[in-house]
Symmetry: C2
Subunit: 334 residues, 2 copies
DNA sequence: CTGTTAGCGCTTTCAT
DNA sequence: ATGAAAGCGCTAACAG
């Protein structure tokens, strides 16, 4: 019941080579033969075995994408952008979710390596550079997503996270906030560290205080825990503004502040997030945020990969600039 | 620069067959040899070529999952559940996003078929049963996700959408609402039709009116458009409650009502969504919704697939019951 | 334009 | 316990 090129060739009274040609180079075959072979394929329900194709051809038409968290709309937006560019090149994107776990990240890299993917796009958790170098040495183009790395030999598409952190805290200070808390973590994630660095710089310049409330992930749940911790403090010990390392955290903080206790945002505590996901605008209190061009990042990442793999260019590093989006959650207190 | 089993065999002074055995059946090889081969693998940086493995073995260790919309947290939650169960079986899940487009759905099914995936989990858009049957006839187990189908020979994991729609409108009517609007579409999506059917039934029983506002997708954007259309009406022509076919639509409606015009929810219009995604609770007005056990659905789908593929059982159909979650958006007007 | 043929890298009998 | 050898299904020379 398993139909192979051989069966198709038989049914169409041609050789297997010709069948392969109508599959891969139809221009090299006479229209009449194409017709006949196509009909046989249809009739027999032949579907090409990609493992065999790939083994022979030596390369795959899939691109691997490893993200930190599939549940974060920022990353699914990146995935959509990547898919779009891949589709233009008649390739596909396979999505792996590391869930912020180094072990799962490693597992996906290895899996993709076994599959000899055409290229790897990765938003790396740790800097497992040796593993990435090995991949590259094998001929797989690696593009770092949402992340630059000291080693300039990797292409990367990133957003200036230090600049974004700076924007956020500068804005809070400009709204008259003096005691700012940075909510984020773990510090193993570069984006978090960079945003904190930018935040510190802005805090110093503005002469406002910045405390750090560490979270163990960048999720709504972790945000809720941080918000609860904040609510549990005596009012005079609370900050008057929170900068959350991403919108998921910010939404969690918001939920905790407004629902569990009844601290008002922005009157008592102003709140700003990061990523500007679609849901930010629809939050209980519409959330100020730092916008990153997620789809464009994904699109560009595939584009760089394709160019580098095509030998058309050397590794390139693209850096986008983030943008402050002001909404109600950081309004000046009445 | 490409390391194969042959190179490893050479380096370890054994035959390729032995290398293969330490890879796949280490118990059949003496510990000392295993040691030697492993060392060689490590030293040479050998990574097995999965295309070759699969070609020879005849099957893959990947499970394909096709969802309607990766940007909908409901589906990424399903994906997480599926991944979890797959990992237990040392398999992986490849995620395909049909984006509610029949053409992309077909493309992914074909792609997965070419890859000879071990099983297909699909939340089908249209009923492309012939294509799914062909897949199954080739030996690939197909499990329908979030969807039952007349053909009982397919396993499926679904949630009672008719029941869910019923719950939603019954609740609205119980809160005293008389003019209800169902916002959803396109009608090519079964879930939408079923939820509408349940809604109609409840509306009839309660003696309230139900109008349908058709959308062209189940996204925040489409919801916003529907909300704008509602706002544009004279107040006396507006419904006093909206049941949105999913939470994304509901969030869009909410944004349009509250931000573009200033129709108050729930005072002027009550609003209930579907799926109970994490963001629903954090909306401007916390959103009532119909909860579905998303991760469990994904987990169960892989489980059914594995059981059926293992020949351990016949096709099975699991149906979960949805659950009403009441929040502020459907409170009785003051 | 079409047919023949040699592998791609691996797993798996079957001997030894 | 290990080695030798036969393909899995397909593509890409190369010949005709």
């Amino acid at each position: 019941m398993v139909v192979s090129v051989r069966d198709v060739a038989l049914a169409a009274s041609v050789s297997v080579g010709t069948v392969s040609n109508v599959l891969n180079h139809p221009d090299k075959v006479s229209p009449a033969t194409v017709e006949r072979v196509t009909a046989a394929i249809e009739k027999l329900g032949f579907v090409r075995n990609d493992a065999a194709r790939q083994l022979r051809a030596g390369h795959s038409r899939s691109i691997g994408l490893v993200v930190l968290d599939v549940r974060n709309p920022f990353f699914t937006d990146i995935a959509r952008g990547a898919e779009e560019r891949a589709a233009e090149a008649r390739m596909t994107v396979m999505l792996g979710n590391s869930d912020e776990k180094a072990e799962r990240e490693r597992a996906y890299i290895d899996l993709f390596e076994e599959q000899r993917i055409a290229g790897l796009l990765i938003s790396p958790l740790a800097d497992d550079l040796p593993r990435l170098r090995r991949l590259r040495d094998r001929g797989t183009t690696v593009v770092l997503v949402d992340r630059e790395v000291a080693d300039e030999s990797f292409s990367s598409v990133s957003v200036d996270d230090v600049g974004g952190g700076y924007l956020a805290v500068q804005h809070l200070a400009a709204q008259g906030r003096r005691r700012i808390a940075f909510v984020g973590g773990p510090m193993g994630i570069r984006q978090v560290v960079d945003r904190l660095e930018g935040a510190s710089r802005a805090a110093n310049e503005a002469g406002v205080s910045l405390e750090v409330i560490l979270t163990d992930s960048l999720s709504v749940l972790a945000g809720r825990a941080a918000g609860d911790a904040l609510s549990a403090r005596a009012p005079e010990d609370r900050p008057d503004a929170v900068f959350a390392a991403n919108d998921l955290l910010a939404m969690g903080v918001l939920q905790a502040l407004m629902m569990r206790s009844s601290i008002r945002v922005p009157d008592e505590i102003a709140l700003i997030g990061y990523d500007d996901i679609d849901f930010a605008a629809a939050a209980v209190v519409p959330l100020s945020s730092i916008r990153q061009p997620a789809e464009l990042i994904g699109y560009t990442a595939v584009d760089l990969m394709l160019r580098e793999a095509g030998g058309k260019s050397d590794p390139e590093r693209v850096v986008f600039q983030p943008e402050l989006v002001v909404r109600e959650s950081t309004a000046r207190p009445a």
